[in-house]
Assembly symmetry: C2
Homo-oligomer: 417 residues x 2
């Protein structure tokens, strides 16, 4: 138990500063491993061990980034459950509002620095997705889906839930045998291959991660699907040709809101007024910048939009939004699986990278889990169609029927005359 | 068959002006009942009989309002099917864009004139909903629902579909026996009474239409539900107290986008961070003013928002959008029923009002039907919840299950720890 050596008045002021900027969560500060300052009168479930005054100053200037960097470095330690701590702090940050002037300034700077231009996107994506396929294989499901799964029941396993997610997506876009589908931001190719194999469509799948595309191509070859699925190492902005459906799962987070109108133009060019599509992305209840530490360390250039911000994707092109589903708790569940697999393999991961990397990724996964639990992040699936699309089902009941839609007849919504 | 007396060059210019302002639909003009001008080279499925040059000038200045007024007066006649004509014209107007300078000016003027202040709303609502309960009974379903129905199958009758709509709404907001619900813009009270009778909730239902409230109160008495359902003749802005759920079906169209933030404040005040709600409203694929003729003649102060515009309802209050469903073709089907019942009773209606009224309402119903068919209008149901709401189901499968949810157990989405 650390002893209270008595904080100096400047240290006390700094602690109060840090705490108030994140909405005064019930957390105790321990300085230099020996001193305890209780800046909050409420119950203290967590202790933050801060090594020195300099770290305290950094925390006061930009609490989120300083905590993230300090935690990853190992210089800041937490006593208490990490996920619970992050839930508590995220809940109180949401109420506290704007952040410090320094954090706002840094956030703006990062927005400018990590712009999602053609070149910028390539760099941003490279930094995350080209880390190592072996690393991701240690904690993702066997099919390598790195997006929110869909758990039809609370007892569904992660493997089943990722399969269910792909079917949920395919049903939502009403895939028909022989159709042509474009997949923007295809990851390691699981969805593209699933659509081809189980729904009889041909797919052109785009991704600017070199490692992911190489992996996906090898997989298509191994599964004998290389004639049905073409993996293209290129930017979504270069998608051309006409397609029956446009699908993008987990890419919009990397597009940046400045490019939503451009992405909308690409979608409309691809499906015209008669096609349909689905976008699946991390969003928010209201417009807010993405976590600056996550952008600095994990996802440069990322943004999670509020629904109103996604209007630019559809509205300038007279695309009809047909269905929006928010499955944020499914992402919390998905992240529980990922985090626990990550912990099981933490030893092997620290042999591939270093301890700083392991702690940074632990914080990223735990922080994401906490964010979905407290509702700081949401997960939206939006189904849309061109204004003249004739393939709109009367109801959504077909999404919840067995057997899978590929095996049965469909009834389209037609204007009854 | 009218003969071509040869249009003067100014008349030809006016006809070209009218046609180009609405995107050159395949329509022939007949002036004074004797002359034919073919301003369009394409197939002519419709003939518009315009009595004189003055009407032509009005059409050139503001085609939509002049056509609506002329059609209602009986001075403009149409040869061809009215709904098909309106579908064709609406399709081409969508492509033509902005409208004439005069129509834009008039539209702005009407926006200012018919503002939805507390007093303005009362006047706007009075002009439509207080017309006569007997009149609406002639063409609505037996339960008097004047909003889009929900047809689980294409063969569902209007009566069944209005019942299904109410259950769809109740399931979406997950009503539980004993809960307290506020209904904003309750019409003749059908939904409030249905919720009370079949879901065991108590309801306070608001409406500023005096006739509708009187009708609803009488109905509650007759059905022995006056202790469970209170009908209040007051504006949504005066809703107070805490409620488990907020429901509003077909009111947002009359709120006006200037008041969405205020409505959001009212919703959040009513359900706090733990309740849930549903809004059901006519919307659009992109922001656009409501038809000026409909606003002039049928619905003063009306606006159908694009989804991005409805952000003001939820985002300032950290309300989570959980589910958006677009059922526009269900409104087309609903309007087919209403229009055909209206026509069956046109004789009786013209005894209650006059021929101008009958033609205006025929045009309004036909125009609405055409708008939903071509996608100029959409119908959105948005389910939302406060940020701390614990009553969010894992999936939407329960919406498509029998028996009705009131009779069975429910499983809530809970953060798994």
């Amino acid at each position: 138990m650390p002893t209270n050596r008595g904080f100096s008045s400047i240290e006390k002021w700094l602690v109060r500063k840090v705490q108030s900027s994140v909405g005064n969560p019930p957390c105790e500060f321990v300085l230099g491993g020996t001193g305890v300052a209780s800046a909050s009168g409420s119950a203290r479930r967590f202790q933050l061990l801060v090594p020195d005054r300099q770290t305290l100053v950094k925390l006061a200037l930009d609490p989120e980034v300083a905590f993230g960097d300090g935690y990853a470095d190992g210089c800041i330690e937490l006593r208490g459950d990490l996920v619970e701590f992050l839930e508590t702090v995220l809940g109180s940050i949401l109420k506290a509002g704007e952040g410090t002037w320094f954090s706002r300034l840094r956030s703006r700077w990062m927005e400018w620095w990590n712009q999602n231009t053609l070149l910028g996107s390539r760099e941003n994506i490279h930094r995350h997705y080209d880390l190592s396929n072996d690393f991701y294989q240690l904690w993702l499901d066997s099919r390598m889906l790195y997006t929110c799964a869909y758990f039809p029941n609370e007892s569904t396993s992660l493997e089943e839930a990722q399969l269910a997610k792909m079917d949920h997506v395919c049903r939502k876009v009403q895939l028909q045998r022989g159709e042509r589908v474009v997949d923007a931001g295809c990851g390691w190719g699981a969805l593209a291959l699933h659509m081809a194999r189980h729904y009889g469509v041909t797919v052109r799948a785009f991704n600017i991660s070199h490692e992911q595309i190489a992996f996906a191509r090898e997989r298509a070859r191994r599964e004998g699907l290389e004639r049905q699925v073409e993996f293209v190492e290129d930017d979504y902005r270069n998608i051309s040709g006409k397609w029956d459906a446009f699908v993008s799962v987990g890419m919009i987070e990397h597009v940046g809101k400045a490019n939503y109108k451009e992405l909308g133009r690409v979608i409309h060019r691809a499906i015209g007024d008669t096609g349909r599509g689905l976008v699946h992305f991390i969003g928010r209840n209201f417009p807010h910048t993405f976590s600056p530490w996550i952008r600095k360390r994990i996802f440069p250039g990322a943004h999670a939009p509020a629904l109103s911000e996604t209007g630019d994707l559809f509205e300038p092109w007279n695309l009809s939004v047909l269905d929006v589903e928010n499955i944020r708790m499914h992402y919390a569940r998905t992240l529980e699986h990922w985090l626990s697999r990550f912990e099981v393999n933490a030893g092997r991961i620290s042999q591939m990278f270093d301890a700083n990397f392991v702690r940074a990724w632990r914080l990223y996964l735990a922080g994401s889990l906490a964010s979905f639990r407290v509702g700081a992040l949401q997960l939206f699936q939006i189904v849309f169609a061109g204004a003249q699309c004739q393939q709109i089902p009367w109801t959504r009941a077909h999404l919840y029927e067995e057997p899978l839609p590929v095996q049965r007849e469909r009834k389209w919504m037609t204007a009854a005359r």
